[in-house]
């Protein structure tokens, strides 16, 4: 007779694809700052990665006999592609991007069953595989930031030149590859402090590593991602638990195990917070709901664990930055966290007995 349907009959319009789009919007400030610092390579990375991701996603869906269009419309593949693109060096060649996206979309996501079923963060799986397999490209293909061009006498590529280099590996005749790149601040700090040749004050004197409050150049990128992240919390696309626990732990670790002990051989906690991929990791990568813990306590532990491992690997481990490894390690712990941090269900303790006693005795 009439439309027969099960309750509830109210449904707000927020859906998965809107959440993913919201996260993409929140990335814009960070992307703009990166473009300013690193040049066209950033945008080329994003465009290539998105196109590849959509192709791989569509092909996988087709092979798996799943509807293609509705799943492409959820924006999850695009988000993964953009996050990976931002994590890769701005001068990354096409083959590196292709391998990365293949692992992210096909291996880490679709082979596990697609959206919602992957235990590991796809972008971080791809990043880890690339940095282990191709350490040279991953660490040396970093365009030197425009802020340092004068100091270092370095250059950057125009749009066409950049495209030509990334697609075909051809540089304009008048530009040497070495003049394009420079080590990242985290990398510099690690090598210089690691081999014990310099103190913080000596590094500072060189004037290329430290900016106003953290790594030169990258501090502004991190600040922009922080702004985007706070906006996402305000819009409730993500919740505050993971980023807060993440950043607080990283801050405290570097305070108590480094800067607080010896400020001349350890960088400040702010340097850790605003260098490398810290803010991108805290607000955009660790908060991926699919691979993070689902309970409040679990999320706090999950975030804190990532902060902890980032510091451990950055300072005592073999890599200058460690967001990917830290996130993957904590991804493994998620089922355990979810199981052992279940919230107390209403009416499931004796605690209410004492409350009831109190109420009974309370004067009217």
């Amino acid at each position: 007779m009439f439309n027969i349907q099960s309750s509830p009959h109210f449904k707000p319009s927020l859906n998965v694809s809107q959440i993913m789009q919201g996260v993409l919007f929140a990335l814009i400030p960070g992307v703009v700052v990166m473009l300013w610092l690193y040049g066209w390579g950033v945008l080329i990375n994003i465009v290539i990665c998105v196109i590849l991701a959509l192709l791989f996603e569509a092909a996988s869906l087709k092979l798996r006999n799943r509807p293609i269009v509705p799943y492409l419309k959820d924006y999850s593949a695009i988000l993964t592609a953009v996050l990976l693109a931002l994590a890769l060096p701005p001068l990354a060649p096409l083959w590196l991007l292709t391998i990365g996206i293949f692992f992210a979309i096909v291996i880490a996501k679709q082979l596990y069953g697609g959206l919602g079923y992957n235990p590991f963060n796809p972008a971080m799986v791809a990043y880890a595989i690339l940095i282990i397999s191709f350490p040279t490209e991953m660490t040396t293909y970093w365009q030197s930031p425009s802020l340092l061009h004068e100091q270092l006498g370095s250059q950057s590529l125009g749009l066409l030149a950049s495209l030509q280099f990334q697609l075909f590996g051809i540089l304009p005749a008048d530009i040497a590859f070495d003049s394009l790149t420079s080590a990242t601040p985290l990398d510099l700090v690690k090598t210089l402090l690691g081999n014990g040749t310099s103190t913080i004050s000596e590094i500072q004197a060189q004037g290329v590593t430290f900016g106003s409050f953290a790594g030169k150049g990258v501090e502004w990128i991190n600040l922009a991602f922080l702004v985007g992240g706070l906006w996402m919390i305000y819009k409730r696309y993500i919740n505050w638990h993971i980023p807060t626990a993440f950043l607080a732990t990283l801050f405290l670790m570097s305070l108590f195990f480094g800067y607080g002990i010896d400020s001349d051989s350890h960088v400040s906690p702010f340097f850790h917070l605003f260098s490398g991929a810290t803010m991108l990791g805290a607000f955009f990568i660790a908060t991926d709901p699919i691979t993070a813990s689902t309970t409040v306590k679990g999320r706090l532990i999950f975030g804190a664990g990532i902060g902890f491992f980032i510091y451990v690997i950055r300072v005592w481990g073999g890599y200058p930055d460690a967001v990917a490894f830290a996130v993957l390690i904590m991804n493994m712990v998620v089922p355990l966290l979810d199981y052992y941090t279940q919230p107390r269900v209403y009416g499931h303790t004796k605690q209410s007995d004492s409350q009831a006693e109190q109420l009974k005795d309370e004067q009217v």
């Binding site: 007779m1 009959h9 919740n239 689902t294 209410s352 409350q355 109420l359």
Partner: protein, 609 residues
């Protein structure tokens, strides 16, 4: 400032607590608040389902052809958890039959049909002469007589709810005036127009339980009703009656949530509010209690909200139970061609109505006739992204997302580990899910599956017990047979010996009459035993052929026998001396006095003293 003013202020700021989760919903209540409560027309025929409450369906107390008056009892209690049903108007009983009722299953149920005579003539009725002085037992009696059930939606018989075991002290009555579902305003209107009745009814419930406190919880989106309630309670502040505004967060009107908000006490899982000294009643129930006690009127009507954009004259109507819902919709001029969905209840927990002939019953608080695009239809479900918005919104602090995985994979043990039976099916999780997964449906499915499994298990257990019992019987029968055979052998040997002895005796004295007698008797016995043997053999072969049939037959026989035994008087009771008879009578009287019911009454009297 005067003392009463200070008291008023301190009352108004009674601390409210919060429950986990919950959601803000659009109210859409103004639609049905444009005018006061109107009385719906008496239809030509009233259809009264025998089961309008939780528990055992009532048994008809009338037959087809009977004339009934308004308020006359037409169906009586059946079992300890049941509720009476009364004729909502005067007329003739024309049918008692399976007819459509408002239920999500769309199945039919037994109904009494009254053809109204248009006179609407009341049966003689009378309220308590001094309601303030009634004992708790008397109040409960009035409530039971009036067939009052919880009008908030659960329709649990109110008299049973008030029948708290004497070892439990009830200190707080919670009157649920929250009405948290969108669209519904029947409680709001009731409080605006009859706040006095609500409070008097609440006072009666409070008295019936000797509770020192009565908290009326009302959502802060009903300022007018709140004002009216405050006025109505002004005289009762010394009796612990307090009206408390609670934030309008769905589902604040859930019993467990409202109790938490008002008292910070949680109802234990699998338990009842009485376990923590609290009882919760709806405002509509309180008003019905008032009518029953003060005027002696049974529960024959209720206020129902008729709303939605497909209705031209939405509002609240006081309608008789049994009125076909189609009649009500016609009265408010609904536009059938506009209707997209027709719901009983609100948009969060209501269900689709499938038959307009279904009557108004005690649980119906709202009919929502929505037009195109007024309500939402969720798009096809996408995979769960584990965002945990469901867990954040769950008012029971459950993990719907985990429960969803396990109900999907039909892991019924694991889903119970995640406490699915604490789920109140409020629909918050489905509402917030960005993947549009119909979570509540999964949980309803899992619950019914578990109930089904439990049922199957019980049946299997019963079958196993029966089988084991049958084996036991077989064993026993075998042992008995063996014993009988041994006995027979012994008897035979004895007889032989006796015969030999007799022969010897006969040799000695041939014409002794006593010996002949013994011989005949002996022969007779022998014949009987012989006759028994083939019968047993026949039984045995039959047993082997069809043991189950035989076992069933035996059980039947035994049952019949025990039944017959129990119905006959003990044999040794004939020819008693007067002294013995007196002793027995006394014992019987003691026994009668010790039945649980009498026990309770006695205890109550003690308490009242």
């Amino acid at each position: 400032m005067s003392e009463s003013f200070t008291r008023q202020v301190s009352q108004n700021i009674r601390k409210v607590f919060s429950f986990h989760g919950g959601i803000k919903l659009p109210g859409r209540k103004s639609l049905s608040l444009q005018h006061g409560i109107k009385t719906a027309r008496v239809p030509n025929k009233l259809f009264l389902p025998l089961s309008q409450h939780l528990g055992q369906a009532a048994t008809p107390a009338v037959k087809v052809g009977d004339k009934v008056l308004k308020g006359q009892l037409i169906a009586d209690l059946d079992g300890p958890i049941s509720a009476r049903i009364h004729a909502p108007s005067s007329g003739t009983i024309v049918d008692i039959n399976q007819l459509p009722i408002p239920h999500p299953s769309a199945l039919k149920a037994d109904c009494i049909v009254i053809e109204t005579d248009g006179k609407d003539e009341w049966i003689e009725h009378q309220g308590a002469s001094s309601p303030e002085k009634l004992t708790k037992h008397e109040i409960r009696h009035y409530i039971e007589q009036a067939g009052i059930v919880g009008l908030g939606g659960a329709v649990f018989p109110s008299a049973v709810k008030l029948d708290v075991s004497p070892d439990k002290i009830i200190h707080t009555i919670v009157i649920n005036a929250a009405e948290c579902e969108p669209y519904i305003t029947c409680d709001d209107m009731l409080m605006r127009e009859r706040a006095e009745e609500v409070i008097l009814g609440a006072r009666l419930i409070q008295k019936a339980l000797n509770a020192k406190r009565c908290l009326v919880g009302i959502e802060d989106n009903k300022p007018e009703a709140y004002e009216k309630l405050l006025k109505a309670t002004a005289n009762y502040s010394d009796d612990g009656v307090q009206v408390v505004q609670v934030p309008a967060i769905y589902p604040a009107g859930g019993e467990k949530q409202l109790i938490k908000v008002l008292t910070d006490v949680e109802v234990p899982t699998q338990g009842l509010p009485t376990d923590v000294g609290i009882i919760c009643h709806n405002v509509g129930t309180a008003a019905a209690v008032y009518k029953a006690v003060y005027h002696g009127e049974p529960l024959i009507s209720r206020i129902i909200t008729l709303t939605g954009q497909a209705i031209k004259k939405p509002g609240n109507y006081e309608a008789l139970f049994g009125t076909p819902l189609g009649n009500l919709l016609e009265e408010v001029e609904y536009e059938p061609e506009q209707v997209e969905r027709l719901l009983i209840g609100g948009p969060m927990m209501g269900f689709s109505l499938n038959d307009l002939r279904a009557p108004l019953i005690k649980s119906c608080n709202c009919i929502l006739a929505s037009s195109q695009n007024e309500l939402d239809t969720p798009p096809p479900a996408m995979p769960c992204i584990r965002c945990a918005r469901c867990a954040e919104s769950c008012p029971m602090s459950l993990l719907p997302q985990q429960m969803y995985w396990y109900s999907k994979s039909r892991d019924m043990e694991k889903i119970q580990d995640y406490n699915i039976f604490d789920c109140i099916e409020c629909g918050c999780c489905s509402y917030v899910c960005p993947s549009n997964i119909p979570l509540v449906q999964y949980f309803r499915y899992a619950k019914s599956e578990i109930w089904g499994d439990e049922n199957d298990k019980q049946k299997a257990d019963l079958a196993r017990e029966r089988h084991e019992f049958q084996e036991l019987r077989k064993e026993r029968a075998k042992a008995e047979k063996a014993r009988a055979a041994a006995k027979r052998k012994a008897a035979l040997a004895k007889k032989k010996a006796a015969e030999e002895k007799k022969k010897a005796a006969a040799d000695a004295a041939e014409n002794a009459p006593t010996d002949e007698k013994t011989q005949i008797k002996g022969e007779k016995q022998g014949k009987e035993k012989k006759a028994q043997v083939p019968e047993n053999a026949a039984n045995k072969s039959k047993d082997e052929e069809d043991p189950i049939k035989a076992a069933m037959q035996r059980v039947k026989e035994k049952k019949a026998k025990t039944k017959a035994d129990s119905s006959t008087q003990p044999k040794n009771m004939d020819n008693l001396t007067p002294a013995q008879q007196k002793q027995i009578d006394e014992a019987d009287a003691r026994r009668a006095a010790n039945t649980p019911e009498a026990d309770k009454e006695k205890q109550e009297q003690d308490i009242n003293v």
